[in-house]
């Protein structure tokens, strides 16, 4: 065995300065949230279902031989079969295509109205919370009064004024929908602006707009995203409800609410016509709820760093 001499060894990778520094790979807020979301099984399943449905809504109608209003008189009330995967409705329209055409409308209404509500609520609430003063007082009195009025009543009335269809529906849902976000964002901003890091930024002479963009918004973004995710099922539900009572989407457009409404008339003899759309509505709501719960846990700063 050869003798091991001290000279034949060289010290590599040892740096007195770096050895003493306390560090770990830096993990941004969102990658941390994403990591924890993936670990949460139910939330991840929810996310998968939502993505799957969104993809199907986009692509399924394109690759089908049927269109949403094409009637096959021989296949009225047909059960599941190779030609009509999910059967047909009372006028022989293919349910598979109708479901995904409906999903386009329902999901996009849910997403658009939730995003609009969030943006309006966040801007108004943020301004009120940050600047306070007279503006804050006036807006908050208004919000308090509007908050006391049942939102559905206002939505129904606005629908009656604007008429039926997709755009009026979104507008009607936004008339009072932003109030919840507004109250919550105002509260958060009000709390944040008193904190030391905002004070420090102010002392350093950073303009308000930069403080809002760099310091306040990143701090409430997680909660906002969670709120958004929770608001989507609510919006889809409201759309289904309004279409169900005959105020939302009207033919030839279709949505899940419309399909349910049509299906329920034949409950006694052809229950699949209501059960199929019901299944998709319920699984979507379930998936979004699970995802929302998971997101809430994932972006909660109090849980950060804990397992």
């Amino acid at each position: 065995m050869a003798e091991l001499k001290k000279e034949s060894f060289v010290i590599r990778g040892k740096d007195a300065v770096r050895m003493e520094s306390i560090s770990r790979p830096s993990l941004s807020f969102w990658s941390d949230a994403w990591r924890r979301l993936r670990k949460n099984k139910s939330a991840f399943i929810g996310l998968c279902i939502v993505v799957l449905y969104a993809l199907l809504a986009i692509f399924a109608p394109m690759f089908s031989q049927y269109t949403q209003s094409q009637m096959d008189v021989d296949a009225r009330h047909a059960m599941f079969s190779a030609e009509h995967w999910l059967g047909c409705d009372s006028t022989g329209r293919d349910m598979w295509v109708r479901i995904w055409m409906g999903a386009r409308v329902s999901l996009s209404i849910g997403l658009i109205s939730a995003v609009l509500n969030m943006c309006v609520g966040a801007v108004v609430g943020g301004l009120c919370g940050f600047y306070g003063g007279k503006l804050d007082m006036i807006v908050m009195r208004l919000v308090d009064v509007l908050y006391g009025i049942p939102s559905l009543i206002i939505t129904i009335l606005v629908m009656m004024v604007l008429g039926k269809g997709i755009t009026p529906l979104i507008v009607a849902m936004c008339v009072v929908g932003w109030i919840g976000t507004c109250r919550f964002v105002r509260g958060e901003v009000y709390r944040l602006k008193e904190q030391d890091f905002v004070l420090a930024a102010k002392v350093l002479g950073i303009p308000d707009i930069k403080i809002i963009l760099r310091h306040i918004i990143p701090n409430i973004l997680g909660l906002l995203v969670t709120n958004l995710c929770m608001a989507i099922p609510g919006a889809i539900f409201q759309e289904a409800f309004l279409s169900y009572i005959g105020l939302g989407i009207v033919p030839p457009d279709c949505s899940w609410g419309v399909i349910c409404k049509e299906g329920i008339q034949f409950l006694r003899y052809y229950p699949h016509e209501i059960l199929v759309p019901a299944f998709f509505v319920c699984t979507t709501m379930l998936a979004l709820n699970l995802l929302g719960n998971g997101l809430r846990d994932a972006v909660d700063p109090k849980l950060r760093g804990t397992e």
Binding site: G148, I149, L157, M160, V161, F241, I245, C260, L275, C282
Partner: protein
């Protein structure tokens, strides 16, 4: 305390006034008049408009309507001839209220129990079961629940009557369908707030004093944990009420929701106006009662904010 109540009452009255005003002008903004029928000659239509006071300036109409409203008069329906909105509300509201109260009692009692069981058995199978019920409940819209229950129990198995509202067995299905969503949300809130209360110091104190587990739950946890549930009772009443809209039409119950939906699609303006205001006043009053009860139950609320 009195100051708090007066403040709340003033806010509620203001809310109702704003609601009535918004609703009144929105209804007038709606396209068309109630008298658009091919059979009507212009003279008749003009007579009708004069009869209902629609020829006067809007502000006069508003004042007249407000004056009538202060005397509790909602005016005549435009589609159901010779019947006042008051009559129709008086006739149909008891059905809706009956259904709503049944559902509410069912939902709150079972929801609380589920929440408590779930929190006491955190992480165990029973908890998992309760959480699944809660998640399912908030994911199934009530009209779908109603249709599914109606199909299974009424049609498939023939256990319960399918529709109408003539006896106790008729109320079971709609009340269950209506209660499910609320039940789920109540149990969720109760579970969360029970878990939060469990970490408080007074629970530790009670435990270390040697108070039995059940007694801690009953005496300390539930009483404190029930507060957040109380705050959502107002919105809960609202959601139960909206639920009655569709469930009444699914189960053919002659309640107010069914009439409301019908008047919306019939463009019966005075009915929509009257019923909306009635619903609004009802809900605002519910919120007011909840607010006051909350103030009575939790002294921090009255002294603290504003």
């Amino acid at each position: 305390m009195l100051k708090y109540i007066i403040k709340r009452v003033i806010a509620a009255v203001l809310t109702i006034w704003v609601l009535i005003t918004i609703v009144f002008f929105l209804v007038r903004l709606m396209p068309g008049t109630p008298f658009t029928s091919a059979k009507l000659t212009p003279e008749v239509a003009a007579n009708m408009e004069a009869y209902y006071g629609f020829d006067k300036p809007l502000i006069v109409q508003y004042l007249v309507y407000m004056g009538n409203l202060l005397q509790g008069n909602f005016g005549y329906s435009m589609k159901f001839t010779n019947r006042t909105v008051n009559d129709i509300i008086g006739e149909t509201f008891p059905f809706s209220a009956d259904l709503g109260i049944r559902a509410l009692v069912l939902a709150v009692s079972i929801g609380l129990v589920l929440g408590i069981i779930s929190a006491r058995n955190r992480g165990k199978k029973l908890d998992f079961f309760c959480v699944i019920i809660a998640v399912l409940g908030t994911s199934i819209p009530d009209f779908i629940m109603g249709a599914v229950l109606q199909y299974l129990f009424g049609i498939r198995w023939g256990l319960l009557p399918v529709a109408k509202y003539e006896g106790i067995e008729y109320t079971i299905l709609p009340a269950c369908a209506l209660a499910f969503y609320t039940l789920a949300s109540v149990s969720r809130i109760m579970r969360a707030s029970m878990l939060e209360v469990t970490q408080q110091d007074y629970i530790k104190t009670a435990r270390s004093k040697g108070v039995s587990d059940l007694r801690v739950t009953y005496k300390h946890q539930i009483r404190n944990a029930i507060m957040p549930v109380m705050t959502v009772l107002g919105p809960t009443v609202a959601s139960v009420l909206t639920g009655t809209f569709v469930l009444e039409s699914i189960f053919a119950i002659p309640g107010m929701g069914k009439y409301y939906v019908e008047s919306v699609s019939n463009n019966d303006y005075s009915m929509v106006l009257g019923m909306t205001i009635f619903y609004g006043i009802f809900l605002v009053t519910c919120n007011l009662i909840v607010d006051i009860l909350y103030g009575v139950a939790d002294p921090r609320v009255r002294i603290g904010k504003r």
